[in-house]
Amino acid sequence: MNSDLDELLKLGEPRLAARTRDVGAELDRLVAVTEGMAASPRRSRRRLAVGGIALAAMLGGVAGANAGGFVDLIPGSASGNWFSDPGTVEHEFTLSSGDKCVVTYAVEPSEVEGVARLRSGMSADDWAAGLREARAAMNDPKTSEVDLAAAIARFADIDDATREQLKADGMPAAERSPALTPDQTQVLAFGNELLSGVKDRLREHGYDPSVVTIASVNDCRELS
């Protein structure tokens, strides 16, 4: 049995990709690009600090994009390279463990440009202007100053309604996302509030709110 097990483990050993010259060059580029990207949130933090917004600004991480369940609740929240986008908001959360962790939220297009424009019939200029307006909204204290307790209450209602709807639609329990933990809920609630604020502003200015969504990344070791 042991030899069978060892043979299976050998079979399962990942075949590492060949380190070609192109791969090497791409690794060089990745080092350089991430150096530039890492500077971007610092600028964002300074801007927020000047605005007097009480958003703690520690280390922005890129691990762990949306916590489990986010995609089910806010469709279209996962894709794209948002890191270099100017419209980001960071918030330091206190987790149930007592640890602190920073989550960075950013506006990103909800769809690929061509798909979005085909669906909605909007022009390239309108699409780009909508994104610009959304990013500007993220830098507006009216959007980025979030009452977390109220946000959590609102989000809990959305979460409950979504789960009820999925249940009513006949989705098997095993395929539905597990119940969110308090830590996940506060992170998602904050993002949902930002998204609502951004979309309200887009509507006010006559843009299609479906053009954007909110993505989040965090440096949380645990998001229980």
Binding site: L11, A17, F83
Partner: protein
């Protein structure tokens, strides 16, 4: 050392460790796509924390692996999202090696390993895929060798149980096309 020099040294350290970090991530993710994304995230987190970069090379290496490890832990809990940052790297990795083995069965085995509890998973990967001895692995993990032995025995038992659910390869030249049953749901919280 000026700030510019310090950044240059850090840049060089990232590049020097990039291949090994990539291999580390390839062995601990389900696909090269995931490994490429995790590498991009690791680099970005490293840059954001580089003020805490140790001076000593061995510590530097461990520091980078620590970041990669946390990236993986978060990636496992997260909904997958692809970053444009690593789009090109993903493409290069996907085309750089031809698969000649039974891909479906190999993936099932790998999936079973990656679903082990973290402490056992690391041991199996180190012993079977990275060629370390039990003593070396226990040192790297900072645990007692007897603890490592016990965890490894448990891991083997769990794997045996999991592997009994993998159907044998279908006979004939198209065995690689036959997909095994899923061992468990791959849905993550």
């Amino acid at each position: 050392v000026s700030r510019a020099e310090a950044r240059a040294e850090f840049r060089a350290a990232l590049r020097d460790n990039a291949d090994d970090l990539m291999a580390y991530l390839e062995r601990r993710t389900r696909s090269r796509d995931d490994a490429a994304d995790a590498l991009g995230e690791t680099f970005l987190q490293a840059w954001r924390r580089y003020d805490a970069f140790p001076d000593e090379p061995t510590s530097q290496r461990m520091w980078l692996y620590g970041i990669a490890s946390r990236v993986l832990a978060n990636q496992g809990r997260s909904t997958r999202r692809r970053s444009a940052l690593t789009e090109r790297l993903r493409g290069l990795l996907m085309t750089s090696a031809a698969e000649t083995h039974d891909v479906a069965e190999a993936n099932a085995v790998r999936d079973a390993v990656l679903r082990l509890p973290a402490t056992q998973r690391e041991l199996v990967i180190m012993l079977h895929w990275e060629g370390l001895s039990l003593l070396e692995a226990s040192e790297r993990l900072g645990i007692n060798p007897s603890t490592a032995r016990s965890r490894y025995a448990t891991a083997r038992k769990l794997l045996r149980d999991a592997f009994t659910q993998i159907p044998p390869p279908a006979p004939g030249p198209v065995a690689g096309d036959k997909r095994p049953e899923r061992l468990h749901s791959s849905r993550t919280a």
